[in-house]
């Protein structure tokens, strides 16, 4: 039996169907990889017993011809998704010991489709971060290293554990969430694929909220097609989430024809930043060339309000977060640090329970919603948001899809940017626009830079046009060449 952890979801699905190996064998191989990869700190909670139990049920179903769409496929779950009876931390001290008595809709969809849970993945605290360094459970290390160097690099964030575990072959795929780039940026810097679907495509029910109007769950996997397969199951209309959309979920694989002839690909000039590394520009040009060679029509477009996206995002997201995180008060669940009265109990609990970045964003959010500042910040940011969305609407009158870099650079070293929040926030410069407009965005692995680090290209689509993103994404993926694999330096 070959290395089962090296398979894609497509290959594993076929292998299970053909009974080349059992779900139990597939699960065991991944459980072993997780044990050997603990140095990466990708998991907060491993659930091997649960995985084996689920795998046995999958084997039973496969044997009896009752296999479901994701039968026996072992996945990792970002620790922002509530999983029934399994510790759910959101990467925060304040959720100490929190075992939800309910299952999020997205993970419920996955388990109902036969997927197997390997455990809960590390992440930036409350999904606030771009490097997975704000986690109470410590930073995650990127499986990739610069050529000839031992420097530990970040896996991006906030879905850093998801990205690292997929890249390191510890899971076949993982769930992520993306509020400002938290799926796409880590996917890009770990050489995997990841999509933030259209807002409303996946239910937010049971996902610990960061910024409700921006949060969206999505898959992260080693190929674009694997993401398409996962999203087909993750997405659903959920009456429990008023913002989830009542629209049929298409079979995305059917859209993946490999054909992009005549497709109009927009290149937004505002995404060419001053001081952007040359390798990012080179990568972008490569992507443009690949699509042109495949028969697509390249069109220059303008998204004039792009420069306001990051400031608008850092008002809207903290504002919503400051309110969403008020429920962590030590009264009903999680951490409680006693105090002499109720106010000091709140203060003690929240001071101890939230890390610095979360506290910073709660303060920013509280400030921008305060009397006298609301109009100047929050309302203005909402207006900008409308303008940004309108930019996209106008662009999509001329083109079918937009191509941009995913992140402004490759993975950086752990600790390199932690003292400089602004430079950290800049990691999201190409991705936040998509969240503000509620559109789908796919990051596609597009090769390695000169230092041997992965880079990603982003495709932005019209609302609910994920199918086109997968189709174009796969074309780029193929043109970029076979997926490289990091050296397993971390294995003990």
């Amino acid at each position: 039996m070959s290395d089962l952890t090296g398979l894609t979801i497509v290959e594993a699905r076929d292998g299970l169907r053909k009974k080349s190996f059992s779900a139990r064998e597939l699960a065991d191989a991944h459980i072993k990889a997780i044990e050997k990869g603990r140095a990466l700190n990708a998991f907060v909670t491993e659930t091997p017993d649960l995985a084996r139990k689920m795998a046995l049920e999958s084997d039973r179903r496969i044997a009896s011809g009752e296999a479901r769409p994701l039968e026996g496929l072992p996945l990792g779950i970002k620790d922002l998704f509530c999983t029934k009876g399994v510790l759910t931390t959101a990467g925060s001290h304040i959720l100490d010991g929190f075992k939800p008595p309910y299952e999020s809709t997205v993970t419920r969809n996955l388990w109902d489709a036969g997927a197997v849970m390997l455990g809960k993945l590390n992440m930036d605290e409350f999904a606030m971060g771009s490097s997975n360094e704000t986690s109470y459970y410590g930073p995650v290390t990127n499986p990739w290293r610069r050529k000839g160097a031992n420097t530990k690099l970040v896996p991006g964030g906030s879905s850093g554990g998801s990205a690292a575990s997929v890249a390191a072959r510890m899971v076949l795929g993982a769930t992520g969430t993306d509020t400002g780039g938290s799926i796409r940026q880590p996917a890009a810097v770990t050489g995997i694929a990841g999509i933030k679907p259209t807002y409303g495509r996946c239910s937010r029910w049971g996902i610990v909220a960061f910024a409700s109007s921006l949060d969206q769950a999505g898959p992260m996997a080693r190929t674009v097609r694997d993401c398409a397969i996962m999203l087909k199951t993750m997405a659903s209309h959920d009456p429990l989430d008023s913002t989830s959309v009542d629209m049929r979920v298409p079979d995305y694989e059917l859209a993946m024809t490999g054909e992009v002839r005549g497709l109009r690909v927009g290149i937004p000039k505002e995404y060419r930043l001053d001081g952007m590394p040359g390798e990012i520009e080179t990568l972008w040009q490569k992507g443009i060339a690949w699509l042109r060679d495949a028969g697509a029509e390249i069109v220059d477009v303008s998204l004039p309000h792009t420069k306001y996206a990051l400031p608008a995002y850092y008002i809207v997201a903290p504002a919503e977060a400051s309110s969403n995180l008020a429920r962590y008060d030590g009264v009903r669940f999680g951490l409680r640090v006693p105090g002499k009265d109720i106010t000091s109990m709140y203060e003690n609990t929240r001071a101890a329970g939230f890390g610095r970045e979360v506290q910073r964003r709660i303060l920013i959010g509280t400030y921008v919603l305060s009397a006298g500042y609301y109009d100047a910040y929050y309302i203005k940011a909402q207006k900008l948001r409308s303008l940004i969305a309108r930019d996209f609407d106008e662009a999509f009158e001329k083109v079918d899809v937009l191509l941009t870099p995913t992140a402004p650079g490759p993975a950086f070293g752990i600790g390199e940017k932690t003292d400089d929040p602004i430079s950290m926030y800049l990691n999201d410069v190409f991705t936040v626009t998509v969240n503000l407009a509620g559109l789908p965005g796919l990051s596609v692995p597009a090769g390695l830079n000169d230092e041997g680090l992965p880079l990603g290209l982003q495709l932005i689509g019209k609302a609910f046009d994920e199918g086109t993103l997968f189709r174009v994404g796969e074309v780029i993926e193929k043109a970029a060449g076979p997926t490289s694999r990091p050296q397993a330096w971390w294995e003990v």
Partner: protein
Amino acid sequence: MTTAVITTRTDQGPLIDGATGKWEVIIGLEVHAQVLSKAKLFSGASAEFGAEPNAHVSFVDAAMPGMLPVINRYCVEQAVRTGLGLKAKINHSSIFDRKNYFYPDLPAGYQISQYKSPIVGEGEVIVDLPGGRAITVGIERLHLEQDAGKSLHDQHPELSYVDLNRAGVALMEIVSRPDLRSSEEAAAYLKKLRAIVRYLGTCDGNMEEGSMRADVNVSVRKPGAPLGTRCEIKNVNSMRFVAHAVDYEARRQIDVIEGGGKIAQETRLYDSKKGETRSMRSKEEAHDYRYFPDPDLLPLELDVDWIASIQKTLPELPDDKKARFMREYGLNAYDAGVLVAERESAAFFEEVAKGRDGKLAANWVVNELFGRLNKEGLSISESPVSATANGAIVSMIGDGTISGKIAKDVFEIAWTEGGDPKEIVEKRGLRQVTDTGTIEKAVDAVIAANPGKAEQAKAKPALVGWFVGQVMQATGGKANPQAVNEMLKAKLGIVG
């Protein structure tokens, strides 16, 4: 919370005396009315009152991580129905906002409410006052919001307990304009509002259980002067307390101003035991609620046809019913007003009056039935004498089968022993004597026994009353008083 500041009243209200002259008191009410609904506003949990603590709490109510609100369509319908009942503008698009503050009985750390875009806009309520006067009170808005839970401070020496049964229950906040000018008007407004929501079936109006409570805004001014600084008295839970709180607060403010002080805008608490209001927090200590649109909920868009279909199901409301009672039954404004105050009373009356003399029925119901119910502290639905039985009594009075006096006896028997009034009359031989022969015999006997008085009566016709009494006594009260009266007049030779 959302206090109206523009009055629509142009007339001057009753004035109160102060040391420096007359004062006018200006009052506006923010009434919180619990929506009559089986489930809470954003969770499927039961909204029932009186369960064991924390028996009706869903994960949404407890604000567990990842939980999301979903609007209860029926609560929206109830709010629209109430708005229509207040003749108010229904806003086709409204927005739910978060009102942020920390308190243990507010699990999410915010209350979902409506701030800038409420579901219902301007309307009005006509309030009848004693003496036949009526005022129109402007309604500024009605919005939907969640109730909070309850903190229990008396269960443990050091700790407080929290009961979340009420957390998330739907409330309608109905904000009046500062159009009320006396404690009497304030109480009458609240009473009328309560009648309207009870007619509509949108709130049970049970103030003891807290289904209806009022925040009372009070200020005073010299007649004609601009509005003074107001104080808000929180959570007053009976009409009597509202009236009392207004009187106390108005007097307090007048005393402060006349003593050279200034009224500070603040939130006050009404202590019903001590009968006073006390400062809770000043404007400076007021929370910054950081309202913003709840991103978990889409704007509430109402379909015009849906609103129209609710309008069609509206019951006849007190004002219309009162007008109809006056028109159809010939009732006076007072009786009609008393009868329509409760939907059940009005329905009861109509059953009693059906096919009978409406005025007679109203007179009977208002004086006899209500009198007795009030005495026993019973509600109309608890009356031991049914509408059918009361109707039978009214019928028998109407057709002369029994006199009004006997009717009271029959009612008393039906009340205490039960039974069909007709049977009571027959079995106990209470039927009024209309047989002329029998009456004549009694009349003749009384005249014969009192020749002197009979002589005097010719000159002093009022004495006939004494003779009537004697005849009635002689016939055991069963003689028809009208017939007796006429016969006596004839026999005594009294003209007219």
